[in-house]
C-alpha cells in the first residue's frame, strides 16, 4: 500500500462483516478500522479499549479520547465531532487518500473530503480475500452447518410424526402443526447450540412458490413444505444455510416430478463444482436440466413460475456473499464455500428447493451436508 494511502472502515461490526473480518472485534457500536503502511489499527472509546486490546487482531488499538485530545488542541480547545477526530487520526498518520467500502457513510466521507482527504469507494467485495476461507473459518462454517442439519432433522421429524386430521391439517400431540410451531422448535434447538436465527422459511403449499414468503399457518398432509433454515453462530458469527422440501404422506405425481428435477439439477450442479468451474456456466447447466425435464420459467399474471433465482451464493460471515452461482457467477477457487440450491415453483403444485453447502476442494468439492433429500415423510 502506498505510504499516504489507507483502507478505512467506519461502522459497527455486528452489521458490517468486513469490519469484523478485518478487526476480529465484535461490537454493536460504531468504531474505526484502518490499515496503512504502518499496519492495521482500530480506534475505540475508553469504554471499549480494554476489550479491544484483548479480543481484536490488529497491530494497534488506538484510544479515541487521546486522538480527540490532539484534535481539540488543533481547534484551540473547542469540542470536536467524531468526523473531526477521524480526520485528526488520518492526518497524524500522514494519510492523504483512503479507500472505503461501497457503503461507507456519506456524511463522514463528505467531511473527510472537505478536509482535503481523497475518499474513494471501492467496488464490492471490499476484501476479495474473504472469498477464500481459512482452515479456522471452514471449521466454523462446518459447525454452523452441522447445527443447521440437526435443526432440519428436528423440523422434518415434527412433520413426519404428525397425523392429518379430518380437514387434512396435520396434528401433533393434539395440536395443529403450524409453520410458527416448527419455527419455535427450530429456534429453541439452535439456541441450545449457540446459534440464533431471525425470520426463516417453513412455507407450505403455494406459500412456497414465493421464495421470499417465510410461511405461516397450518401445515396440511399432501402439500409441499419448503424448510429453509439459515442461522448465525452467536460467537464466531458464521452462518449455516440449508433447505429441504417434504410432503407428509402421499405426494402427487406433479410434486414428485418437480422434486426429481430439482434433485437432479442440484446433484448436477454439485458434480460440476471444482476450481476453475464458472458459476455462470453451472447456473446455465441447472437451467438446462429444468428445460430438458419440461419445466419452463415464465411470468404468468405478473408472477414468476419455474426457476427464477440464483443456483447458489457464497456463505461466510454474511449469509449472502461472493461468489454467486448465477448469471453473474465468476470462476470458483479452492477454499470457497457456496450454497447449491436450485428450485422449482408452480402455484397449484407447490414449491421445491434443495440446498446444501459445499467447500471447493483441489479436485472438486466437499459437501458439508449428509442429510437425506427424500420428498415423502
Amino acid at each position: 500500500m502506498h505510504e499516504k494511502t489507507a483502507e478505512l472502515i467506519i461502522d459497527d461490526s455486528e452489521r458490517e462483516s468486513d469490519l469484523l473480518w478485518a478487526s476480529g472485534f465484535l461490537a454493536g457500536d460504531q468504531f474505526t478500522w484502518l490499515r496503512d503502511s504502518k499496519g492495521s489499527a482500530i480506534m475505540l472509546t475508553d469504554l471499549e479499549l480494554g476489550r479491544g486490546e484483548k479480543e481484536s487482531r490488529v497491530d494497534e488499538v488506538i484510544s479515541l479520547s487521546a486522538v480527540e485530545k490532539s484534535a481539540k488542541e488543533v481547534k484551540g480547545g473547542e469540542p470536536c465531532s467524531f468526523e473531526e477526530i477521524v480526520l485528526q487520526l488520518l492526518r497524524s498518520r500522514n494519510i492523504e487518500r483512503v479507500e472505503v467500502p461501497s457503503r461507507f457513510p456519506l456524511m463522514i466521507a463528505d467531511f473527510l473530503r472537505s478536509g482535503g482527504i481523497e475518499v474513494v469507494a471501492r467496488e464490492n467485495p471490499f476484501f476479495s480475500d474473504r472469498r477464500i476461507k481459512r482452515a479456522d473459518e471452514i471449521r466454523c462454517l462446518e459447525e454452523s452447518q452441522a447445527a443447521t442439519e440437526e435443526a432440519m432433522a428436528l423440523a422434518i421429524r415434527l412433520i413426519s410424526n404428525s397425523e392429518p386430521g379430518q380437514d387434512g391439517v396435520l396434528q401433533l400431540d393434539g395440536e395443529p402443526l403450524t409453520s410458527e410451531l416448527i419455527k419455535y422448535s427450530v429456534r429453541s434447538f439452535l439456541l441450545s447450540k449457540g446459534l440464533q436465527i431471525g425470520e426463516f422459511i417453513i412455507a407450505p403449499g403455494d406459500q412456497g412458490c414465493d421464495p421470499h414468503d417465510v410461511g405461516s399457518g397450518p401445515i396440511r398432509a399432501g402439500e409441499t413444505v419448503i424448510c429453509d433454515i439459515y442461522p448465525q453462530h452467536m460467537t464466531h458469527r458464521f452462518w449455516g444455510d440449508m433447505t429441504r422440501t417434504v410432503v407428509k404422506g402421499q405426494a402427487t405425481e406433479d410434486q414428485k416430478k418437480i422434486h426429481a428435477a430439482v434433485l437432479e439439477a442440484q446433484e448436477t450442479a454439485i458434480s460440476l463444482i471444482k476450481p476453475g468451474a464458472c458459476g455462470q456456466e453451472i447456473h446455465r447447466r441447472v437451467q438446462q436440466v429444468f428445460e430438458g425435464a419440461g419445466f419452463s420459467t415464465q411470468q404468468r399474471d405478473g408472477t414468476w413460475e419455474g426457476f427464477f433465482h440464483g443456483t447458489g451464493h457464497g456463505l461466510g460471515l454474511d449469509i449472502h456473499e461472493p461468489p454467486r452461482i448465477s448469471p453473474v457467477g465468476p470462476q470458483l477457487e479452492e477454499g470457497m464455500v457456496v450454497t447449491v440450491e436450485p428450485g422449482l415453483y408452480y402455484p397449484g403444485i407447490g414449491g421445491c428447493r434443495i440446498e446444501d453447502v459445499v467447500l471447493v476442494t483441489a479436485n472438486g468439492c466437499r459437501n458439508f451436508n449428509k442429510a437425506p433429500k427424500g420428498l415423502e415423510v
Copy 2:
C-alpha cells in the same frame, strides 16, 4: 417538500430502522424508499413485490424490473447497474436533489452526483418524528419491556435459588451457576415470547466495572451481579432494555452504599422527567447525587471508576436512539420513551446499575417497569 426534492433511503430494513419506520417493510435485502411531492414509494425486485404490496405502508410499490427496463432503453439495451436504475427512478420523477441519511452508501451517492443529482447527507436523526412514539409504538415497547421484566425475574430467580459451594461459587441443581447458563435460560424464555437477544450482560464482580464486559464464568455469593437484558421483538422490532444488580446472600457495606446511591440517583432522575425537562440537566443532577454521596468519578491507572456513562437514551426501533439523557441531552417531549440507568463502578467493590424504561407523559412520566430493585437476593 419542494417539487424537485426527495428524501431517499437505500439499505436493508433489518439493519436500518429509519427505513423500517418509513416503509413498514421488513427485509434483509437492500431496497429503495423515497418520498417526494407525489408521495412515498418503495422500489422492490420481483421477488419482493408481492410481499411489499401486502406489508408496506407507502403510497406506491414500484417494480425495480420495470424501472430497469426504461433504464436499459435509455442505454440502447445495455445492462444496467443498480445505481443506474435508481438514477432512472429519480429522473422519471423529475427529482434533482435528494436528502439522505448520514450513513447513506457513498458509492451510490457518488454515482447519483455524477448523474447530476444533488445528494445531501442530513444530520441524525433522519426522521425527528421518530422520537415521539405513536400509541401503537408505545404498546409494542410495553410488550417488549414486559417480556424483558419477566426474563429479568427469571435471571434473578436462578441466582436467588442457588446456594454457595465451599469455594463460594453458586450451585444450582448440582451444577455451578455461570453467566452463560443464566444467559441461555434468558434467551430461551425470551424466544418463547417472540423476542431475540444477541449478546447481553450478566456480569459478576469486577467484570461489571467495565460496562461493555458482557460477563462470563461462575457467579459467586457476595459479589454484585449486573443483569442488563435488551432483547428485540422479532415481529414488530421494538426493543426492551432493563438492568438490575443483585448480590446472592450478604452484601458488604460498600456494596450497599453504592447500591443505595444508584437507587437514589435513578429515582431522582425519574422524578425529574416531564415535558420540557432537559436531558443534560437530569444527567447533571444524577452526577450531583453521586458527588453528594461521596462517590467521585475519575481515571485510575487508565480505567474509569465512578459514573462515566450517560444516564439514559431513547428506546424504539433502535436500542440506542435520540433523545439522550447525557451531557448532550435535549429537552424532553411528551411521547418520548427513554431509559433511566445511572450506575457506579469501583473495582474491588463491584458494579451497580439500575435501569427502567419510562414514557414521558403530559405531567411527568410513566414507568413501564414494576420489578423490585433490591440488592440482596
